[in-house]
């Protein structure tokens, strides 16, 4: 048992690109769920359209990189309008079902054999991140003693955490504006807001689009960081990782999703490393109880359990305020 190794893996993931991706997704979910009370179970879909927006524009159509970035920004907004139109007037569970279904449709279509010419099938697309990598100003990686990052990771980290910071400031500024106050009052009592003459549907749509755009940035960052898009990355589990991070950190708090994502990846990666060392031929857990393959499943089991227990015992997470969580909606 190598405690230092566990700590190292955990820190690497908690500070690394994975945590950034899920922090961005969770910031988007925070706008939806934390501030407006919308239950979006398809955040992975927003991430997917953004990532594929860039990849398809650049690889399939041969357009320049900057155009790809613009498409990647517009795609989640379009998706938000398409999903919002049928569902935002309905009860919360309709939006949840439709968003999760839409995310799955998008993933099926992107991974299908029949659309291979456009989306690259199950292998996805790559070869679009050249300008991003070329802009890397670092000449070598960094070694902080316990964690080390390679040169390209360091560049991803710089861009990623800067992006997270900008998004946090944006959310902070928006949520203390009159617009943000309307969103929060929609979460508390929709009918009361309507009686004040506000167009609740339009506000919800704007919130859905903004959160979707933030989620899209997460997908875009993932695509740039690994220089490829693969449909399996955008499965429903992606959404629920982000949800767990949000619930852990605390919804309706600006820094809740960020802290949540860091902490969540620290725990998940640490746990994964612990069981990887413990199980298998040279671990202390006999293989009858746990094999290597089974050890890799523990993180998902813990994820499910964490969501259940957090929701029952501490829906406000670490930093949240219980009165601000929109869980008692109709």
């Amino acid at each position: 048992m190598d405690i230092l190794e566990i700590l190292r893996t955990a820190l690497q993931q908690a500070l690394g690109p994975q945590a950034i991706v899920f922090a961005l997704l969770a910031i988007g979910l925070n706008v939806h769920f934390g501030y407006t009370g919308l239950l979006n179970f398809g955040q992975a879909g927003f991430a997917l359209v953004s990532a594929y927006g860039l990849a398809v524009t650049v690889v399939t159509f041969g357009a320049p990189f900057w155009l790809g970035l613009i498409v990647a920004m517009i795609a989640p907004l379009v998706l938000a309008v398409i999903l919002g139109l049928p569902t935002l007037r309905l009860r919360a569970d309709y939006l949840a079902i439709v968003t999760i279904a839409a995310a799955e449709i998008l993933r099926f279509v992107a991974g299908a054999v029949e659309t291979k010419d456009v989306f690259g099938g199950s292998n996805g697309l790559s070869g679009f991140a050249g300008p991003f990598q070329a802009a890397n100003p670092y000449s070598k990686g960094v070694d902080l003693g316990i964690v080390a990052f390679r040169r390209d990771d360091l560049w991803s980290l710089t861009v990623g955490w800067a992006l997270v910071a900008v998004c946090c400031v944006l959310v902070w500024a928006l949520m203390r504006s009159p617009w943000g106050r309307v969103l929060r009052s929609i979460r508390e009592d929709e009918d009361a807001v309507r009686s004040l003459g506000k167009n609740v549907f339009a506000y919800k749509m704007q919130a859905l689009a903004l959160g979707g755009l933030l989620g899209g940035l997460g997908g875009l960052f993932l695509a740039l960081k690994q220089a490829s898009v693969v449909p399996t990355n955008y499965a429903t589990l992606m959404t629920f990782y982000a949800f767990a991070a949000l619930l852990l950190g605390g919804a309706a708090r600006v820094l809740g999703p960020v802290i949540g994502a860091i902490l969540f990846w620290f725990l998940i990666a640490g746990l994964g490393s612990f069981f990887r060392q413990s199980a298998g031929a040279d671990g202390w857990i006999p293989t009858v109880i746990m094999t290597d393959t089974q050890a890799s499943l523990i993180r998902y089991i813990v994820l499910g359990l964490a969501i259940i227990l957090l929701m029952i015992f501490r829906p406000q997470g670490i930093f949240g305020d219980r009165r601000e969580i929109a869980i008692d909606e109709r």
Binding site: G37, L39, F41, L83, L85, P86, T87, R89, L90, R91, A92, D93, Y94, A96, I97, V98, I100, A101, A102, E104, I105, F108, V109, G111, A112, V113, E114, T115, T236, L237, F240, F243, L247, T293, Q294, L297, Y300, I301, L303, G304, L305, A306, I307, I308, L309, M311, I312, F313, P315, A326, I327, D328, E329, R330
Partner: protein
């Protein structure tokens, strides 16, 4: 209160562990692994001739010869799954040639396919594959009418399985209002429990009826699972006053938790029952003008009996009426002297049992897999949304429509067969746009 809930949660997990660990050998797949020796694996599939699920049919009894530098080093014959594993001595480049004379009649090599394939044997073990895409051109000449009949049959069977599962969903949704994202895992639960009992029984004296007994046990286990879920998780959560959204998020957590518990004990590979398996050749019989396998006829009959039985029970029995009353207006039902909590518990038991049975039926058609429930969950949602969330008859109607569309979509609407689940999901989104209450739903439920 909080402490008690915590204790019962731990008890639930403990019980699950005991239940699952208590079945020795559960983690083993039925498929015996090929020998460790290095080998070339050839799978022959007829792409022009697909079964009800849209998978290409395997081609058995074809002779394959392996040569290296012109010298013959091995020979194999494909088995019922169309797979031949031919051992070779060392790594290197081999040529696999297919004896066209041994192909079954009606199957021909595609014009783009040679009767030879070159295989680089790079790995120790049996995972060196050779590919012969057979019958691609023949596919273009396929008969539309025959395809329609085949898909209609597949669609009918799938629709009935879906109806049982959707009815289970609607039974639970009615009194609790819960859109249960763990419903798919309740379905998987039935399938894996049945597989466990089946593998315990299939070598003993009861081997002849192993799957039937296993299905009954799984249905009972599903009911028990519903009871335990209600008593341990949902009941306490409800009494804490959790809202709709909180319960949905909890159900997502439960779904992920259960899915990977199943994968932990049953692996991610596909398992199959000892009887009624749809691999290999099976006799088809004509029922009502459809060429149906016996297995499919059994599925249809069981599903119909269960659906009719439950619907009659809901319409006539005291408990059924109580259940509908609670679905309609829980507060009014409670003030009329109904014990709402016990009604909800019975809904969980009945819903859990039906869903587990649906899982067994679905596994008879498509094999057992830890992820089967997750894959069908959104189709169930599509069915109940189309019919009208919260209505029993709507769930039935929606399941029939969605089940048929799922199978007929590739043929009628040109949906790529590999992603045919897209059809039902798109229909669900469209129906929410034009008639959000569904076909039979009432508007006041929309919120």
């Amino acid at each position: 209160m909080r402490k008690r809930l915590y204790r019962v949660l731990v008890a639930l997990i403990g019980a699950l562990m005991v239940l699952l660990v208590g079945t020795p050998g559960a983690a083993q797949a039925t498929e015996t692994p090929p020998p460790d020796a290095t080998a070339i694996q050839v799978t022959l599939q007829d792409k022009a001739n697909k079964d009800a699920q849209g998978n290409p049919k395997p081609i058995p009894d074809v002779t394959l010869e392996v040569t290296k530098d012109g010298e013959k080093v091995g020979e194999g014959v494909t088995d019922a799954k169309g797979v031949a594993i031919i051992e070779v001595e060392e790594l290197g480049e081999y040529v696999v040639s297919l004896d066209e004379d041994t192909l079954p009649s009606g199957t021909a090599l595609d014009e783009n396919t040679k009767d030879e394939a070159t295989v680089q044997v790079r790995f120790q073990g049996p995972n060196n594959r050779a590919i012969f895409p057979i019958g691609v051109t023949a596919g273009d000449q396929a008969n539309f009418g025959k395809d329609l009949a085949t898909n209609l049959r597949g669609g009918l069977v799938f629709a009935l399985i879906l109806a049982v599962a959707a009815l289970g969903f609607a039974l639970i949704f009615g009194p609790t209002g819960l859109s249960n994202f763990a419903h798919g895992e309740m379905l998987t639960f039935g399938a894996v429990i049945a597989w466990t009992f089946d593998s315990l029984l299939d070598s003993g004296a009861l081997a002849g009826v192993a799957v039937i007994i296993a299905a009954i046990m799984a249905t009972m286990a599903g009911g028990l699972g519903g009871y335990v879920q209600d008593k341990v998780l949902w009941g306490p959560v409800r009494r804490r006053g959790a809202g709709l959204i909180a319960m949905m998020i909890i159900s997502i957590g439960l779904a992920i938790f259960l899915r990977y518990i199943f994968q932990y004990f049953y692996t991610s590979s596909t398992l199959q029952y000892s009887q009624y398996s749809n691999q290999g050749r099976e006799a088809h019989w004509y029922y009502l003008g459809f060429a149906m396998a016996d297995r499919e006829a059994v599925i249809v009959v069981v599903a119909l009996v269960v659906i009719v039985g439950v619907c009659l029970w809901l319409a006539k029995s005291r408990m059924g009426k109580a259940m509908r009353a609670v679905s309609d207006n829980p507060a009014l039902a409670a003030s009329s002297g109904l014990r709402v909590d016990s009604v909800i518990t019975s809904a969980w038991v009945l819903g859990g049992a039906m869903t587990a049975l649906a899982g067994v039926l679905y596994a008879l058609q498509n094999q057992v897999n830890s992820f089967m429930g997750m894959k069908i969950l959104l189709v169930i949602f599509a069915a109940v949304t189309l019919g009208g969330l919260g209505t029993i008859w709507g769930a039935l109607l929606g399941a029939l429509v969605i089940g048929l569309i799922n199978e007929l979509g590739p043929l009628l609407f040109n949906i790529p067969p590999s992603i045919k689940e897209v059809g039902p999901l798109v229909i669900m989104i469209v129906i929410l746009l034009v008639r959000p209450q569904g076909i039979l739903g009432r508007k006041d439920r929309l919120g």
